[in-house]
Amino acid sequence: MESTTRAFNDNVRRAIGDAGLRRSLDKLGHGFPVKRRLAAERLPEFETLRDEARDIKNHVLANLDTYLAAFEAKVTETGGQVHWARDAAEARDIILAVCRDASARTVTKSKSMIGEELAINDHLEAHGIQPIETDLGEYIIQLRHEPPAHILAPAIHLSKEQVADTFRASHDGLPRDRDLEAPETLLKEARAILREKFLAADVGLTGANMLVAETGSIVLVTNEGNADLTQTLPRVQVVMASLEKVVPTLEDATTLLRVLARSATGQEQSVYTTFTTGPKRAEDPDGPDAFHVVLLDNGRSGMVGGDFQDMLRCIRCGACLNHCPVYATIGGHAYGWVYSGPMGKVLIPNLIGMETAKDLPNASSLCGRCEEVCPMRIPLPRMLRDWRRRQFAAGQTGIIARWALKSWAFWARRPGLYHFFADIKMRSLAAAAGRRGRFRSMVMAGGWTGSRDLPAPQGRTFQAQWDARGGKR
């Protein structure tokens, strides 16, 4: 997917000016956190499970080669095929080749963030193959040619009226004045249209929440069941997954599942959790004839062993987005690429480069609410600081910020001078503010005074007053 991350500040302004988006984000920001908290409270061992989940993924990342090799061996043993893709272009080529081999005309697809990373839909379409998103939210944004606004709820930015308009514009052959008021009606219409597509598709393209090394299985979690139709009906199944999705055993997979849905939506379990192993066997009633797994690296192996390795523990639950006050203010599109929220701020610069994604690690108050709720205990604020450290070292910190920091540090390191001049300066500021006690505007402080008054100092500094009182030194 093309990124608009470079235009972050423009994206932000557009998002903040969008009243409809405000309403949707408000609902999300108040709904999911409560549900997550209740779900966590209902499970006494939730905090212990988070530790276990973290440890499982840490163990995997320390032994990634071993588990990937084991996974590949099992997939092959069960009649499937693993393809290794170094980057998005390689993955796209592999998937296209499989589709062509199957003489595919249409491909059904269930929601996959890797699919977004690959921009696989555009690629297939450009080569005459029609991809059809089957997750309702993804289907809606596909019709609107928009990227997902949330890793879990891709159409979270839209109102049901906007969805109704989209359906009216896209679903030909239905009466234009039909009643699309109720969400159920929208759902029914989408379902009727998708049902046809499920049956006609030649290839089913899915993501994977996990890959199980022990059995060669893939694990898929949805609330709509669309992934199950996507993987059982077509002749060929292609799974897109990134390297770090592998876990050692089925037992480990269930540990992660126990924290996943609770963190994501506050559900104990998602409605559908499916373990799929290889293509259809002789005794199976249904399933694909061919089973392909495309394992995507796309920069991830470079993160192993470095500052950002912990990010590879992410299970894409979306809790950090749901709890982030910045995400709640700007929504997902402002981040400008596939991922968003705190996890996006850490991951995007890793995947598309720090230069392009300069703003992301900085546009954070480092409030820490993301780390507080992340089921995998990923130290997101620490990693945002790591990006800032790299930017500072690379001279990419803005010239004004750099100058301000350097001059502050100069004074801060000279306490004698600092106290002397601070007292003079504070007294003069207090005098300038007069009896009002605050400033409505101030030269060079527009960033502050654009939206808030600037409280004035009281007068003499504490240090000067302490001296005057003969306080203990």
Partner: protein, 258 residues
């Protein structure tokens, strides 16, 4: 265990410059709890602005100055969760691999406390001798809340202030959008965040907002003033010390004249 009564005050730059009355309130609270309070002269700022901006060299230089200035005191107390969090959580990180400064940073971290949690958790102060006539709401600043676990302590002490009623705001744990340099570098995002916070504060009907960090309080107070809100903003120490008679944050002696 012997309670540490030989206390050094880390004033914090914002209290020193903007609101010394908070520093004196802290001194009074500590003295009332039986502490002797020293204010080492060689302190300015904890270095957090540099640290959060990725300028670790300057952050470390400032941190070394703080470590040296506060050597030898039984306890170091700051009227800020953010600055105390910087010293407790991040100084040891800054010097993790430094054989000389690492141990000294860890030693200081172990002795450093945020003011209200020091009073409650370390000195086991049961109550304060103060009165405040009115309804207040409390904002949980992020660093204090998440790095130091400060949530119950200020509420417990506020409950002993005569005449004071506490009413909780929705989302009292959600960031106000200050975030140091963040608020001036991303004014659109920060402005929206602080507006949400100001509205949540107004919705409580409380006459006063209290909190433990000057940065957040100046941010929320500045926004409330810009909105024309009558809600007053103060540091919690002022109320606990019974020293809330000075003009509130962002107000002057002439409040209401214009």
């Amino acid at each position: 265990m012997e309670k540490p009564r030989d206390v050094a005050l880390f004033v914090t730059c914002l209290v020193d410059l903007m609101r010394p009355s908070v520093g004196f309130a802290a001194v009074k609270l500590l003295q009332d709890a039986g502490c002797t309070v020293t204010v080492p002269r060689a302190q300015t700022c904890c270095g957090q602005p540099a640290y959060n901006a990725g300028d670790e060299a300057d952050a470390a230089a400032i941190a070394r100055q703080v470590i040296a200035a506060f050597q030898g005191f039984a306890a170091v107390v700051a009227p800020s969760g953010s600055c105390a969090g910087m010293i407790k959580e991040h100084y040891p990180r800054l010097f993790a691999d430094d054989p000389e400064w690492g141990p000294r940073a860890r030693d200081l971290a172990a002795r450093t406390h945020e003011l209200v949690s020091f009073l409650r958790d370390v000195l086991a102060v049961e109550g304060v001798d103060a009165a405040f006539d009115g309804t207040v709401t409390y904002h949980d600043s992020c660093s204090g809340l998440r790095e130091l676990g400060i949530k119950a302590q200020p509420r417990a002490l506020l409950a002993t202030v005569a005449g004071l009623t506490l009413t909780e705001a929705e989302d009292s744990e959600v960031c106000c959008g200050f975030g140091g340099l963040f608020c001036v570098k991303y004014p659109d995002i920060s402005g929206q965040m602080v507006d949400n916070k100001a509205k949540a504060v107004e919705a409580t009907g409380a006459g006063t907002l209290l909190g433990g960090d000057m940065g957040c309080l100046m941010n929320i107070g500045g926004r409330l003033k810009r909105r024309g809100s009558p809600v007053q903003v103060r540091h919690v120490a002022e109320v606990l010390a019974g020293m809330a008679d000075v003009p509130a944050i962002g107000e002057g002696p002439g409040e209401g004249e214009d």
